[in-house]
Symmetry: C2
Subunit: 205 residues, 2 copies
DNA sequence: GTCTATACGGCGATAGAC
DNA sequence: GTCTATCGCCGTATAGAC
């Protein structure tokens, strides 16, 4: 299986162009639209050149997944310095585009081992980075530890916005507004915004 | 688009066999494995016969989605008679097989309008049935209405187990056990099991 | 190292014969 | 109601040009 064939270098500008084009194709038309011929046309190269850099389409998907996870971890290592990591997680997981892309990869992962292990590893890496940031602030939240743990809370702060975005994609809205209000009220309570802290000091809502 | 072509009857036993085989194929190998030739081989018929009943593959997926939603609503109209509808929702949404199937359909829906509207309608119908059952018990929960609404709570009781199942499929586990414990403690509080109610009466945990 | 041309079997879909 | 023939896509392997 493509063991002795030559493969383009990882630093090639053409390769980066192909990865970007592939991501756009996935977002616009789904992973099934990422074909050698279609991707080549979109990027303005020959189909066989795409094959040169990615011998199989799984190779392309894994590379795309890895570069995306790396970018997320970079962005998060900055955000983790904040004193409001739960808000950072909430906003991160509320990203519609990222959720749409994640859905495509989850569907791919469901039946392709290479992608499955890549997305599993990536998920754990992101969650661990989040956990480290939240743990640093945990005692200041004043939550009952018997009620919820940092890891458990983090899971829910990821899962809820993700499912909100997914359901809204195909027109299910029941309970969405209410759920968002509940969570944001919770966030206002344990990670008060600056002006809200002032309002609290003044005894206002 | 297949407007004048003849189509097999909806009551055909062959048609039902094809729908069942298609669902198994989706679960085992993903929706991409549902091909005319593959499905025909699985069901022991000619590929062109599959096309006779389902002129396009989208027709097949929509029919499968609709029959599945109908079955769920039947099952739920029974369960809604219970005095513990939130537990029923929690268990319903925790079904691994159903979640795997839902992921396949969500990925399909993401870029196919016919499936998108079918899954959207189905989602609302299920959520409405759940809402009716929970509303009937709502006052007994003794929850602060400003904290969470029935619809908002229901969304979370669906979203959390669904995302648990999805993440576990590709090996992300961080926070899962803690989240489950938190929710089940919440359920024990507002929908106490019979023996737990006795324990509460006795002042035990 | 980068890129291209070509071939193979499988796919969804259509038109039409039995 | 059932099945065949056909079309233009697809992934992928290979052989080879710059």
């Amino acid at each position: 299986m493509a063991s002795s064939r030559r493969v383009g270098s990882t630093t090639s500008r053409t390769r980066t162009l192909l990865l970007n084009s592939a991501q756009q194709l996935m977002l616009e038309h789904g992973y099934a639209a990422v074909t050698y011929r279609g991707l080549a046309a979109r990027a303005g190269v020959a189909a066989s050149l795409v094959q040169y850099y990615f011998p199989t389409l799984d190779d392309l998907f894994v590379a795309l997944l890895r570069s995306g996870t790396d970018r997320i971890l970079e962005r998060f290592s900055e955000a983790s310095q904040t004193e409001q990591p739960l808000r950072a997680v909430w906003e991160y997981a509320s990203d519609r585009t990222a959720t749409a892309l994640l859905l495509e990869f989850m569907a791919l992962a469901n039946h392709r081992k290479a992608i499955q292990s890549e997305i599993g590893r990536g998920g754990e890496r992101v969650r661990d980075a989040q956990l480290e940031a939240v743990s640093r602030q945990w005692t200041q939240y004043g939550l009952d530890e018997r009620a919820v743990s940092p890891a458990g809370l983090l899971f829910m702060m990821n899962a809820i916005p993700r499912m909100l975005a997914l359901e809204e994609t195909f027109g299910t809205h029941t309970g969405h507004r209410d759920a968002v209000e509940t969570i944001e009220r919770f966030l206002d309570h344990i990670e008060p915004r600056r002006h809200e802290r002032e309002e609290q000091d003044l005894g206002a809502d």
